[in-house]
Symmetry: none
DNA sequence: TAATCCATTACCCGATCGTCTAATTTATTG
DNA sequence: CAATAAATTAGACGATCGGGTAATGGATTA
């Protein structure tokens, strides 16, 4: 039994595998289940089935093959992000085409692994990703970094009033924020959370103050840009 | 003595630390040298000294603080990349400003760590990065991924009912959209563009329809996510 | 136990929003 | 020239928003 080195949490990480090749699927499951802190809770051989299982199990991590029949992995990830779980997605493929890598990572994947990855390394990635880390395979890391907008700005003075005075949102407020970002009105948010409109408004007000913005549009934009949701 | 889990190489990873705070420097060195596969070969307290040491030792991995006195970490990394060693750089900072993260990663860093990282985790990152992995701290992972060009813009998805049925915005509408994304009210937008509120409202209405959204929040989020602004 | 934070609900009020209809002017294109 | 699209302005409507203030119950913490 293999143990983690750095992580100290003991919580089991639930994983769903979406992969069309049965053999690969079995391989992935075995490799991951060999770790007692990782538990493969379901498997799917296509995106549609995968999405159902994801909605049902709300796993911590999703292993998503990109070359799926029918709906491909990219589309699946986009739909996956529309459902509002915070499952982390690992894109798994044998391709190293730049467009596919960028497409995957910009569509919801937090990690990109090539299929020749060492099984034990994959387990490490699953752990990393479950904590929110972005992990990109060496073979495609450079092309990904190259795709980032270049910054000519050599104006980096430590004027960060940002991280300092930041007041953290409560869990409930985060829920509200997610709905807010999706464009819901206070009434709709209230309906979603099964509370009164007054409550929703109160949360929104609190969010605006904590995020130091004047209205919900600024809050939504800031949330998206800073990856809060 | 801590051992790696996944990696099987036995080669020692040489590391150079560039960090102005002596205390942090000592902490980093101790944390890393506690691993027998990692060897801190040199330390510098500013970028100039760091570059000299890097040229001399050609380390596998460079731990680069971004907030250095004099030449900052970003500049140092750019100069570092001009020398053509394949040293991998880990940007180390306590800031989580989006611009700084993107700047670092697009200027040569393969990894971005916040300084509150678990020391043992940092050793894992050093190992990962030495193999070419791109590793990004959970706190800033999402904002980095958001900075990648969107799928729609790279035409990965062949179907795209989106790109086809999409009605293009006029120039004026784009102007309005930018202000809208920045959280301005119709009145403020009107003032900016030196038109009446009615005009601003008309444009916004038109934008909402063309973008197939119900309100300005959805428009703003969509605009940001799709990199329209 | 007292204090504090959070979630919840409620009411009020002015400001803003989104949609509608309708009109004028300018520019471009057929 | 005629037609079309874009930009502009206007008034009016109901819906929604954001900011106050205030109260209650539950949970956690000092």
């Amino acid at each position: 039994m293999v143990q983690k080195t750095s992580e100290t949490k003991t919580k089991t990480i639930s994983v769903i595998i979406v992969e069309d090749f049965k053999l690969t699927r079995v391989g992935l499951r075995c490799a991951l289940n060999a770790n007692d802190d990782i538990n493969v809770v379901a498997e799917a051989e296509d995106a549609v089935e995968g999405l159902k299982l994801i909605e049902k199990h709300k796993p911590d991590v999703i292993l998503m093959d990109l070359g799926l029949p029918g709906m491909n992995g990219i589309e699946a990830m986009i739909k996956c992000k529309e459902m509002m779980f915070d499952s982390k997605i690992i894109a798994l493929t044998s391709h190293d085409r730049s467009e596919e890598v960028i497409a995957a990572l910009s569509s919801g994947a937090s990690a990109y692994c090539l299929k020749d990855i060492d099984p034990q390394k994959l387990a490490d990635v699953v752990r990393d990703v479950s904590t929110g880390v972005c992990w990109i395979d060496p073979m495609v890391a450079q092309m990904t970094l190259n795709a980032l907008p270049k910054v000519d700005n050599i104006g980096f003075l430590p004027n960060k009033s940002n991280a300092e005075g930041r007041v953290p949102l409560t869990e409930r407020e985060f829920e509200v924020l997610k709905h807010l970002v999706s464009g819901k009105s206070n009434t709709e948010i209230a309906k979603e959370l099964i509370v009164s409109v007054h409550t929703a408004k109160a949360h929104v007000c609190s969010i605006l103050q904590k995020m130091c913005v004047n209205d919900r549009v600024q809050a939504a934009v800031k949330a998206v840009k800073e990856g809060m949701v």
